[in-house]
Every structure is written in structure tokens, then in C-alpha cells.
């Protein structure tokens, strides 16, 4: 029997012609250039922390009234009419900062900070430059109450800011690096004190420093707020050194680091930690296994003692708990039931990175398309498991947006689509007129009840529309196209019932199959829309159940009429029928 060497070499028997054709020194040198540029720029990840936008739809200008409450301040549209600012973009006054890309943005509770960023003037609009971008080190704060900007201290020369930013106890913490004399960098956590207007750096206390210069990409630490503490965690455990690195907790009160309990989960990449209803949750994709997100949460075992409990409880992940603080409570990780309803469950390929937000006790996965779900941590011990979110459908992203969601109290925005968090409904937010066409030139953050968009040297704010129940009205539904069936109309009662308002039933047949639809009208601010539901097989005759089908939002016409023309092509997913194509036209108007 040939020895193992012979077997292996025989399995990869590459002839000289193949090898010559494969070896491309020019390509090697080009890659070397990119590696060098990437090492020096330390820009990695910053794009992921901001939201990006493209072309504008709603032309809005701020009126001259200096009113800090956006709900009272009127905006003037292109045609000169005044309108409620909710649901619209308004440009902020000019600030002191020059044109820049990817500044760090953070809301302190009273001001929105815009810090640093990069000089991308040598790049094309929105281009992902492959060379090192010069850093800006100035910063400014915007007070929405006075609509005024002021200059603040920027990060000093010795601190290069990264992308993750959290605000804890009024202090702003940013992932950062300190350039070293040997062209290497030392990861640190930067802190900005808004009251003292001062920057400082806080070195990590790593049990196992990672990032040896072995040619592999460095794994930067990411930050998460956890109550009055800051968690600095490893973003990926792909490399052995990162697997051994401890996730850290910084307590501002003691100015010290402690170890976060090891998760004892299989090593993960694309790790995210975020606080959900006071609980720290870690989500990641196992390196060896299917591409599904595995969440676990940190549960308090004993609030009074620091004694380590060696035996994990049933339902917990393997491995025992660890002590977070020297005099603090004992925690252990508990794996949550269910994995993300994404690629594995839907059998579809994802179109980009996933993004996560927390709302109440919900951990919400907002993407990527076509999958999204919500995991209610309050459902333990009977759950929780993932619940589907409606597909954004044709809710327009209005251009190229970033893939990381930002969540306010009522609304989260992801890839240009907004979601009303209480009812988990998608809607469009449009984009401000004059926003740069290139998505890379934009950044976004919530400032209390408004979303602020930074684009080069301009900024806009957007406030959520009113989610109050709509007024009563009348709806008429007309089915056209390859449908035979009755057309019914009735008065709208406008009661809330589940996700959206279920209003009117439409019955039709497609072939031999009866199809029952519910059509719900939604009013969001001054936007009118319609949601369609199709009856599924799980309900009874007395209590039918309807599955979400389509969601369209359209502006109401001058006469108060809203029309939609919906092509129902995905009914097979919920109704078990396979129509060729069904067009449903709905018109309705509400009384003034």
C-alpha cells in the first residue's frame, strides 16, 4: 500500500502548466498593497456601525420657526405647504464640522455628538476606498432643544477611534486603538467625558492577549452597554487566540475590569452582544456547524455571593458559571431555545449581514432579507422560539443603506426600511433631499425620539410618524385580473387587531380554491396604506386565522383616496394555492 504521502500528493497532482497558470505575482503584489493599506487604515468595521443612505425622495425644508419640539415644528414641502414634521426629514442647521465620512455618533441624553471621521475627499462618492483615509480629530455636539451646534474636544493624536460606541453613565465609550512605535496598534477603550470635555484611554486587562502578528486578521473588541457597565467582547472566535481571550466587563464605579463568564458555547463568529430588558445576550454563528444564529443570555445565579457554582443547571450551556465582579453577583450563560429563523429555516440565501435590536423583552433580528424574527425572552420556560416577522416586501429601502440596525424607542431602521417595534410592522421612511448619493458618505444615530443622518457636511433629522389608531372610514375593494369572486365593501371600524388593523374581508376563487383575504387599512402620520392577509388553514370557521401576505404603503391622494394594485404571487406560501397572478385593487377614503 502506498504510504500516506504518496496518497496525498497523488490526490493533488498539479502539473507545471496548471501551476504556472495559477501563479500570478502581479495579483500577489496587488493584494500585498491592500493588506498594507488595511493595516494602516484601521478603518475596518466602521462602516458597519453607521447607517448609509442614497438618493432623496421627500423634499423638505425646515421652516424658520425655532421650535425645539419636532412634533410642533412645521416643515414646508416643495410645493410650499406646511405639514406635520412627523414621518419627514428635516435638515439641521449648519454645524462646525467639515465634510467627512463615518464619524462616531453618540447621544448623551442631551446632545448628539459627532466625532472624528475620515477625509474621503479623494474617494468618489460612496466609494469604498482601498487606501488609507486621513482621520479628522475634531468633534461637535448638537442640541436638538436649541437646534445649535458647539465644538467639543476631539480624540487626541494617540487615540484612533474605531466604530463601536456606547454611552453608559453619561460617559461615551468607543472602541479604539493606540498606534505603537513599531507600526503596530494596541487595542484600548476610549472614553469621552462630556462634562469635562476630555478624552482618556482605558487599557484592556486581557488574560490572553490576542492578535499575535501571525498574518491572520486581528480580531477587534466590540462594545456593548450592560446596565451601568460596559462589555468589551471578542467579535469572532475563529482564531485560536481569540477563543482563549476573555470577554471583559468594565465597571466605571471601580474603574476596573473583570471577566465575563465564558459562554461555553461552541466557538462563534459574527458575535454580537446586546442588552435585552436588562439581560445581556450573546448571539453568534457556530464556526463548525450550520449557518444559524445561536443565542444565549446571561442569567443571575446568586445576587449576593461570589461563590462559583460548579454544576451547571439543566437547560444551561455546558460549563459552570463564573463570577463577574469581585464582590458582585454570580452569573452563568443560558442557551436560549431556537436558532435564528434565517437561512436554515427558510432555505433561502441571505443578502447581507444580519442586524439585531432589542425592544422590551424582544430580541429582534431585522434581517437580512428574506428572513427576520423576534425572540421574546419573557416566554421562558415554555419558549422562547423565533417568530417570523413579515417580509418587508416592497417597502422601499430607497437606495443603498447600511446593514446594521439602529433602534429608537418606537422605531428601528435597518437597510433603509423602518419597523414599528410595538407591532413589528415595516414601513418606508424615504430619504432627505440633498443627501449624498453614495451610501458610504452617510452615518446615522438616534437622538432621543429622532433619527439623525449625517451626510458629508450636512445633517437631517427624522421623527417617527404617529402610530395612533386611524380614523373611521370606508373601504371598497375591487378584484381584477385572473380572479373570479365576490367583491365586498364595508365600513372600517379601525379597531386594532394584531399586526395591523384587520378591516375588510374579500372572498374570491382562484381555480377551484376559495381565497379569503382580509384587507386592513393603516394610517401612519399622514401616510395611508393597506395590509393584506390571507386566511390560512389553522383557524376555525368561527375564528379564522389569517397570515400576513402583502404590505403596501402609499400616500393618500388629494381627495383622500388611496389606491393600491397588488400582485399576489406568493399566496402559495400561506394559502396552499398556486395562482398564476392575482391583481387586487383597493380604494378607500376616510372622512376628514
Amino acid at each position: 500500500m502506498p504510504d500516506l504521502r504518496d496518497h496525498l500528493h497523488g490526490a493533488v497532482d498539479l502539473d507545471d502548466a496548471t501551476l504556472d497558470a495559477s501563479f500570478d505575482m502581479a495579483d500577489v503584489r496587488a493584494r500585498a498593497g491592500r493588506v498594507t493599506a488595511r493595516r494602516r487604515a484601521i478603518v475596518a468595521g466602521s462602516v458597519a456601525a453607521v447607517l448609509l443612505l442614497v438618493a432623496g425622495v421627500v423634499a423638505v425644508a425646515v421652516s424658520g420657526r425655532d421650535d425645539a419640539d419636532p412634533k410642533r415644528r412645521k416643515v414646508v414641502t416643495d410645493d410650499g405647504t406646511e405639514r406635520d414634521p412627523r414621518g419627514h426629514w428635516q435638515e439641521l442647521p449648519d454645524g462646525p464640522l467639515s465634510e467627512r465620512r463615518n464619524p462616531v455618533m453618540a447621544w448623551t441624553g442631551t446632545e448628539l455628538l459627532v466625532i472624528g471621521g475620515y477625509d474621503a475627499s479623494r474617494c468618489g462618492d460612496g466609494a469604498d476606498c482601498g487606501f488609507r483615509l486621513p482621520r479628522f480629530r475634531d468633534a461637535a455636539a448638537y442640541d436638538p432643544a436649541t437646534r445649535q451646534w458647539r465644538e467639543i474636544a476631539g480624540p487626541p493624536d494617540g487615540i484612533d477611534l474605531g466604530s463601536d460606541v456606547v454611552v453608559v453613565g453619561g460617559q461615551v465609550y468607543v472602541s479604539a486603538d493606540e498606534p505603537q512605535a513599531n507600526d503596530d496598534v494596541e487595542p484600548v477603550m476610549a472614553r469621552y467625558d462630556p462634562v469635562a470635555d476630555q478624552w482618556s484611554s482605558i487599557p484592556y486587562e486581557e488574560r490572553t492577549p490576542y492578535g499575535p502578528d501571525d498574518g491572520a486578521e486581528r480580531v477587534p473588541r466590540r462594545l456593548a452597554a450592560w446596565g451601568d457597565r460596559v462589555v468589551a467582547y471578542v467579535g469572532s472566535q475563529e482564531r485560536a487566540a481569540a477563543r482563549e481571550a476573555n470577554d471583559l466587563v468594565y465597571d466605571p464605579e471601580t474603574a476596573g475590569w473583570t471577566d465575563l463568564p465564558a459562554t461555553a458555547l461552541d466557538p462563534q463568529f459574527d458575535r454580537r452582544m446586546l442588552e435585552v430588558d436588562g439581560t445581556l445576550v450573546v448571539i453568534g454563528i457556530p464556526i463548525d456547524g450550520p449557518t444559524v444564529w445561536v443565542p444565549a443570555r446571561l442569567v443571575e445565579v446568586d445576587p449576593t455571593t461570589t461563590t462559583t457554582i460548579a454544576t451547571p443547571e439543566p437547560g444551561g450551556v455546558s460549563g459552570g458559571p463564573a463570577v463577574v465582579g469581585a464582590d458582585g453577583p454570580v452569573y452563568r450563560w443560558e442557551r436560549l431555545i431556537g436558532s435564528s429563523p434565517t437561512v436554515a429555516d427558510r432555505g433561502a440565501s441571505a443578502d447581507g449581514l444580519e442586524s439585531w435590536v432589542a425592544h422590551g423583552t424582544d430580541l429582534i433580528n431585522m434581517g437580512p432579507k428574506p428572513a427576520a424574527g423576534v425572540l421574546d425572552l419573557a416566554e421562558r420556560p415554555d419558549g422562547p422560539n423565533w417568530v417570523w416577522l413579515p417580509d418587508p416586501g416592497d417597502v422601499s429601502a430607497d437606495g443603498d443603506w447600511p446593514t446594521v440596525a439602529v433602534a429608537g424607542d418606537e422605531v428601528a431602521v435597518d437597510r433603509g426600511r423602518a419597523m414599528e417595534l410595538d407591532r413589528l410592522r415595516w414601513f418606508a421612511i424615504g430619504r432627505p433631499a440633498g443627501a449624498p448619493a453614495g451610501g458610504a458618505d452617510l452615518a446615522m444615530a438616534w437622538a432621543a425620539d429622532r433619527l439623525v443622518l449625517w451626510g458629508k457636511d450636512r445633517a437631517w433629522e427624522w421623527t417617527p410618524p404617529s402610530f395612533d389608531p386611524p380614523r373611521a372610514g370606508h373601504i371598497e375593494i375591487t378584484a381584477t385580473g385572473a380572479v373570479e369572486g365576490s367583491v365586498e365593501s364595508s365600513d372600517i371600524t379601525c379597531d386594532r387587531d394584531g399586526p395591523g388593523m384587520r378591516k375588510d374581508e374579500w372572498s374570491g376563487t382562484i381555480g377551484d380554491t376559495r381565497v379569503d383575504l382580509l384587507v386592513g387599512r393603516q394610517i401612519e402620520g399622514d401616510l395611508d396604506g393597506v395590509t393584506l392577509f390571507v386566511r390560512d388553514d389553522e383557524g376555525s370557521e368561527d375564528e379564522p386565522r389569517y397570515g400576513y401576505l402583502e404590505h403596501h404603503v402609499r400616500n393618500v391622494a388629494d381627495d383622500g383616496t388611496v389606491s393600491v394594485d397588488v400582485e399576489l404571487t406568493n399566496m402559495v406560501q400561506t394559502a396552499g394555492v398556486t395562482p398564476d397572478s392575482v391583481h387586487l385593487t383597493a380604494e378607500w377614503r376616510c372622512p376628514d
Binding site: L8, A11, R29, A30, V35, S236, F269
Partner: protein, 171 residues
């Protein structure tokens, strides 16, 4: 150290000399010629980017294999490499393709069935011809760990009929 590439005076000579075994090892490790080709180029790019350090290393080829294995075991980077490899193929940059024989395919499958660290150890030790110390350096672990991985890997390959070796006999 076995399997050592003659110390090259310039990065191109070093890359050219190491390229065949690097490409072959990644092909074995990944069971995917296109991705292996992409990661080989990427690995060599990093060699050139750090040539000032690499040329002074005691075992530059072991370091290079370590970079390659780091890239290959990174799920994210592997997916990126797969996308780039597809793009290269679609654009016609790569005219050649890997066309293994049935026997070669069977061997690759047997290797692919090994756990990650065992696969690394086998490829580095028996295909790249690194000695135990070099394999340990490339894997970032101790020589004892290498021997353990090899022992288990060879047992699995023996069960698959690929070898009658007893273990790390020739280390």
C-alpha cells in the same frame, strides 16, 4: 526542518517556490480548488506585505502555512474567498480547472472528513512535508498536540483504507 523552501533572496522567488505546495495543501484542506487558489494568492500577498519580517524568520514557510491555515479556517474569510474565486472564474481570469481522478477524489474526501485540526496536521505533515516542529509552528500548538492530532487522523485514514501506517512513526 523538513520540507523547507530554500531561503529566497526576494519575495517573488520565495512565493514561486512555495506556491505549488501551498496551493496543493489548501486544495487538500478545503477540497475546493478555486477557493484554494484564491487563498493561496491571498496568503502570498500577506507574505509580500510583511516581507521585511518574513525574510528574517527562522521558518518563513511555516509562518506562511500558518497564515494560509488561518485564512482557510476563518469562516468569514473563506466565504469571501469563495465569492472572489467565483468572480474570477466568471470573469475568465482562471482558465484552468482542477480535474481530479476518482481515486484522488476519494482521498480528498477522506481527508475532508477529518476534524479541522487533524486535517491541518495531516496536510502540513504529510503533504507539505514539514517536520513535527514545523507543523506545530504552523498550527500554533505544541508538538505533543501535533502528534495527538496525527495519531487520531491516521487512525481514521487507516480505517478509510488510505494508509497502513501506525501513527507518527516517521516524525
Amino acid at each position: 526542518m523538513d520540507g523547507e523552501v530554500t531561503r529566497a533572496p526576494d519575495p517573488e522567488a520565495f512565493c514561486r517556490a512555495l506556491h505549488p505546495r501551498l496551493l496543493g495543501s489548501l486544495t487538500l484542506y478545503l477540497s475546493d480548488w478555486s477557493t484554494a487558489e484564491e487563498l493561496t494568492q491571498e496568503t502570498l500577498g500577506r507574505v509580500v506585505a510583511r516581507w521585511g519580517q518574513v525574510r528574517s524568520m527562522e521558518h518563513p514557510e511555516a509562518w506562511t502555512y500558518r497564515v494560509a491555515m488561518n485564512l482557510a479556517t476563518s469562516s468569514l474569510r473563506r466565504r469571501q474567498a469563495e465569492r472572489r474565486a467565483r468572480t474570477r472564474l466568471e470573469r475568465g481570469h482562471t482558465a484552468i480547472t482542477d480535474d481530479p481522478t476518482p481515486d484522488a477524489l476519494a482521498i480528498r474526501r477522506a481527508v475532508a472528513a477529518l476534524p479541522e485540526r487533524q486535517r491541518q496536521a495531516v496536510v502540513l505533515r504529510y503533504f507539505c512535508d514539514l517536520d513535527t516542529a514545523g507543523t506545530a509552528a504552523a498550527m500554533g500548538c505544541s508538538e505533543g498536540s501535533v502528534k495527538t492530532h496525527l495519531h487520531r487522523a491516521i487512525a481514521a485514514l487507516r480505517d478509510a483504507g488510505l494508509t497502513d501506517e501506525e501513527g507518527e512513526a516517521d516524525a
